[in-house]
Symmetry: D2
Subunit: 256 residues, 4 copies
């Protein structure tokens, strides 16, 4: 039973004169000393970030922030127009789209990487089996392929190179690259490592557990959505989008 241990928290406490986060004095030890990214690592892990963690997490958060007009950003703009008095609703609505369809592939890729790593000396065989099974069932491999960026997603080689140059241990990256070779062989053509695959490997390199990875994508996208909301304040598009949909999705009678 999950709730059997007595409830407790290690995140924050305060006194009349101080706020403590993860045992650190917010005013004395954190404000002005940590970047936002460093604070995210501390908040999430309970430990001060290493230089590698900060460098990789910055790269990941920068990469995931923005993709132009996506379902999330369209949603945020429409909701902002409907309720400008509650901007947080627009961000929240947009974030609700950071779900299985788009971010599930990052988590799926992280699972495959963990799976290969746990196979130890059998890693290559494990990677081959994963690739072969997906190819036979014609299933997409999480973290591979891209509908638009061809032959390669430009973000992935950049992220992998950055992690290596920054001194990442490299085990998760190697597992991903091993899987990549087997995927190309099993499918008989080159499938790019896409950005979600690369991000899964990078977050693995800095010890972010698979089960919380989605949360970091959510934080990065939140910042992206705030940018869209601010643009909506200056260059509104929501009413135009609404009219567009009304015009372009015709009505047809119900079958009786």
């Amino acid at each position: 039973m999950r709730a059997s241990s007595p409830p407790r928290t290690r995140i924050a406490r305060h006194t009349e004169a101080a706020v403590y986060v993860r045992d650190y004095d917010l005013v004395q030890d954190l404000i002005g000393k940590l970047s936002f990214t460093e604070m995210i690592v501390l908040q999430l892990t309970g430990r001060m970030p290493t230089a590698l963690q900060t460098r990789i997490l910055d790269a990941v958060l920068v990469t995931l922030m923005e993709h132009g007009f996506t379902p999330s950003s369209i949603v945020a703009r429409l909701i902002y127009d409907s309720t400008p008095e509650a901007m947080q609703s627009a961000v929240a609505a947009g974030l609700l789209g950071v779900g299985g369809t788009f971010i599930g592939t990052m988590e799926g890729a992280a699972c495959l990487i963990d799976d290969i790593l746990q196979a130890g000396e059998g890693a290559e065989a494990r990677a081959r089996k994963i690739a072969t099974e997906h190819a036979q069932r014609r299933n997409p491999v999480p973290g591979f392929g891209h509908p638009f960026h061809k032959p390669d997603d430009p973000r992935s080689p950049k992220l992998l190179a950055l992690a290596r140059e920054s001194g990442a241990p490299g085990r998760h990256i190697e597992a991903l690259e091993l899987l990549s070779r087997e995927v190309d062989a099993a499918f008989g053509r080159h499938l790019t490592i896409n950005v979600t695959g690369a991000v899964a490997a990078l977050l693995g390199e800095i010890d972010i557990p698979q089960k919380i990875m989605r949360g970091l994508a959510v934080v990065s996208r939140a910042a992206g959505l705030v940018g869209h909301i601010h643009e909506e304040q200056e260059l509104p598009t929501a009413r135009h989008v609404w009219g567009l949909v009304q015009r372009e999705v015709p009505y047809e009678e119900n079958p009786r």
Copy 2:
């Protein structure tokens, strides 16, 4: 009519081989070169951040991230327990609490500061009038007072000092401090500049418009909530909270 200009966006576009954000090539110019905080400034303003913007925004985002068990973090944990397959829902639900009650004071403080700044040479008179009117109506002054931190919210002097040491122009800070003196005089006792007041002044110093300030609080809190969700994965509290509320809020019969 807001939608009269043709709709357009300046945020992002992509080609087969590249993604551009605010005209910059994401892979060549941004990943590995900008911190998350710097990318937030670029995304929001369309311009590369100054060192001052980055330093102040980092301080603000670090400050606002975490306050322990607040309505937002309690909500995020309860929703995560109800739908662990959709972690983004837990973040979104928690963010819906970053509304008028808690963050409205930051926006209110920013309005007062803008109001004083626009008064030009009449700034002191304007500040006195604001303070007096609030005191006479016994209205709380946005950005002043704290239910718990006394005599002073420890975060505020830290933030103001950091901004000054970092070379902020100081106009918004001075307006806030001018208002502070008038508030103390009008109320006949010391009311602390609280964290929302200090943040309003700091964001003003780096040219963040009042109307988008709430969005930055939302981003910071999103990161805080992800920390709470991760702790809920390891040290669950949601079922305990549920039981606690059921026990502690008794039923009483309906008046007929």
Copy 3:
């Protein structure tokens, strides 16, 4: 201080063998005996509904459910496509659009009606003052005018007639019609009582307080959104909408 009274609830309690809602035994007294609409009245007011309350609330909930492709329904469909494993997220995201822009007018109309009713014998003068002030400031009058339905919103006369025929006391309706005459006079042309104005009057007739009216619109729209989500399961539009927006909102360079 709002929380000064000891916390308690009058909504529901349960034992091993029974569930009670508003003191009634759910199994013995409510299931199979009350319609959903009747149960909504009981849940909201703590009292069994009158025939008038049920008839009017049914009419209101039927009226507000559906308006085709609105920001809310577009949002619900986009989010459903992004996270089909969490359908409730799609409903929730769509409901976040039931905010000030669209439903605020219903609340505004209810406020005006309450205002006129409280004027007692001065009702006519009060209505004239409201109409004149709005006309002079060229402010829209909440509950009046419609961008598309002309000369009259067809739903409003139907709702008002239905309430009268059902034996509504008529005070709120009369106040609305009084205001309508003064609005036409003050603006020098006919402005239709729109659906939000009519609904505000009808809910007032059955003693629904202004401050919870929005909640009933939210319930009705929730049902509408579930219909859109089910259509999205059968006749998907979300990917088409996404593509449409990407094509139709061009990118332009940032001013430097």
Copy 4:
């Protein structure tokens, strides 16, 4: 590819003088003629409801509306307190909890029922296999068992009897009862058919597809949450809950 057919909608359209829902004239044919529940059926299925559909759906919506202080209602109250200017946010936040943990069992039960029905003459063997496999793996059977209501969830026999008395065809109910006998045998003790199991069978009886069932629970709960929000307006509990959690979840130092 899901979006291959041209996008279209059969839900609603409007002209200057009329609104049509599912081809029906809203003003002429629906307002004042349909109850909210009947309109929900029309909106969802595109067909006028049968008497059986209305009777069963009313019973289901009445049953699911209210369970006292649940995660959803606690969340709605906390968010309402944080943002009373955006009541829809409180409903939306609460609905985000209508996810896998609580409503997944209804969908799981509907899947098992569909599975048994598709087995045709092999239904008994299929039910036995399902029960045995769950018992062997010590997995809970969706739709069976209740942590609090013992020996039987009082709502389930009521709902099943009501459906039978109302003339439901009975196939889904029989499949559920067949499964119930096999579950008791396989587990060696009586496990109650719980409310989610009974609701799954009832919705199956009126041709509501499994994949949209969750949506109806969401609508019912939306109405329940509006009741909680209105009670929060009159008898506030949110601040008390917040204080309770802060007191009862102690801080402990982080392991280093």
